[in-house]
Amino acid sequence: MNGKLGRILIVEDDPRDVELTLTALEDYKLANEVVVARDGKEALDYLYCRAQFQTRSSDNPAVMLLDLKLPKVDGLEVLKQIRSDEHLKMIPVVVLTSSHEEKDMMRSYQLGVNAYVVKPVDFHDFVNAVKELGVFWAIINEPPPGSMKK
């Protein structure tokens, strides 16, 4: 741990899930370095510094929390594009989804996801899961070179 905080990119279409996730991250003061993309296209825009993200610095996020069911471009497609891009393919990606389906899990791992987390129904479990993800990926884990740190 070097005391620096990695940037977290949350790709989530449901505002309530966004709020609950941010609430969970706030408890660990991780919420400051969070970017929220509301669909797959926005996530790709962010990663490629396109559209409203044109002016951001081109560093990659330290981790990306990715929902699978998203409007426009779905999570698996986002994952596929990231993994086939030379500049983006090292970004750690954690799928954070409601889906228990083996199909989704298989597909995600085939596409090279770093972790697959099913959102727990229980709020405490959910908060704990998000917290632990945040702590691990934004603090404990050393992200690949070229990632954004503060």
Binding site: D14, D17, T23, K69, S98, K119, D122, F123
Partner: protein, 393 residues
């Protein structure tokens, strides 16, 4: 058309047949008279024979009898001494009878041939009919096949629909629940000091209800997955499996006195992970429903080793159930105990039944209130040689 062909009947119809007969005899007579004119001797009778033979061949018995009669009369009148009379001289008589006998033999041979031909024709017709019937049946089979294929496609479609239904349940139904729980808990935290005990209890109830719904959805999804998953069948040593399950589950019951008894169980043929789920469900039920006993007794054994199936039972001395409601035991979300007494969603035995049915086996339960319960399931036996191989170290 060849005259020998069974299909050809050049002279058919009654009148035509007799006409043919008369014509043949007339032509023979004409030819005979012509030959006589040019002094060829003794050709007339062979000519008449030819006419009779032709008639018999083509026109059948009736016309050939007529031909014999006409030929006899003509031969007698025109060629047998004394000529131009119907009288027969003694010298010509044997010769004349020989001619008639010959004619009759030819006619009868022809008749026999015709009968054979008729039989053959009948046989052919019969065969043709059979061929047609077979064609029809084949067509029916093909039609059924087509329908079956259509059904299979429909089934596949509805299976896909079911799958996407389960998928959307998994994705979309859980999210609102998570929000209900999450926001209720945030509310609880936010206004813990502001609301009274009653309101606190209400919020708690909302959270619990939503969590329960989450559990129900999870159970239902797992249950539907069992129906959709492919079974990978191998030989499964049930005794080993039972010991494994008991060993694992037993760790959860520290502080309780449970007398386990695992009898000799055979090797069966089935999907190991599914059968393991059966064992886990039955054993955990037995553990749950014996909770109030100071000394719980749980026995796993084999009830009937004969036949092609093995019947395994799990017996406990727990709460039991009323046999009157035994038919509800294996229903989805069916419970025979109150939730305050024994927790659970009521999916365990439904899962057991589904797995065993997928193995072609049967399930049943026996019990009495407060006297324990026994649950039986049957699965196909592994073959004898396989049993030996499997039990070898």
């Amino acid at each position: 058309m060849a005259p020998w062909s069974l299909k050809s009947r050049p002279v058919s119809g009654r009148i035509l047949g007799y006409g043919f007969s008369v014509a043949c005899v007339a032509i023979a007579l004409g030819l005979a008279l012509v030959f006589q004119r040019y002094n060829f001797r003794d050709v007339e009778l062979p000519l008449f024979d030819l006419a009779i033979a032709l008639t018999a061949w083509y026109a059948g018995i009736g016309p050939s009898v007529l031909a014999v009669a006409l030929s006899t009369v003509c031969a007698n009148y025109f060629f047998v001494e004394p000529v131009y009379s119907f009288a027969i001289s003694g010298r010509e008589l044997p010769y004349f009878f020989l001619f008639i006998a010959w004619a009759v033999i030819v006619a009868s041979f022809a008749a026999v041939r015709r009968r054979i031909e008729a039989d053959l024709r009948q046989a052919r017709d019969h065969l043709q009919l059979e061929v047609e019937q077979r064609k029809q049946r084949e067509e029916e089979v093909r039609k059924l096949n087509r329908e079956l294929a259509k059904r299979a496609v429909q089934l596949e479609v509805s299976n896909k629909e079911l799958e996407s239904f389960a998928y959307s349940v998994s994705h979309d139904l859980r999210a609102p629940l998570r929000h209900a729980v999450g926001y209720s808990e945030l509310l609880q935290k936010q206004c813990a000091s502001l609301v009274d005990e009653k309101a606190q209890r209400f919020i708690k109830t909302i959270v619990e209800a939503a969590k329960r719904m989450g559990n129900l959805i999870d159970d239902l999804l797992a249950f539907s997955r069992i129906g959709r998953a492919e079974t990978k069948k191998t030989e499964v040593n049930l005794e080993q499996l039972a010991k494994e399950v008991v060993g694992e589950m037993g760790q959860e019951t520290k502080g309780r006195e449970i007398a386990w008894k695992i009898g000799a169980l055979p090797v069966c043929y089935g999907d190991r992970s599914m059968l393991r789920l059966v064992m886990v469900n039955l054993v955990s039920n037995a553990m749950k429903f014996t909770r109030m006993r100071t000394r719980a007794e749980i026995e796993i054994g084999c009830a009937d080793g004969s036949g092609d199936e093995v019947e395994v039972f799990v017996r406990d001395n727990g709460a039991g159930f009323d046999m009157e409601y035994a038919n509800q035991l294996f229903g989805v979300f069916q419970r025979l105990h109150r939730a305050e007494e024994f927790e659970g969603t009521g999916i365990g035995l439904a899962t057991v039944q589904r797995i065993i049915h997928r193995h072609g086996g049967k399930v049943r339960g026996e019990g009495a209130v407060d006297q324990g319960a026994t649950f039986y399931f049957s699965v196909p036996k592994a073959r004898e040689t396989k049993v030996k191989a499997a039990s070898a170290p």
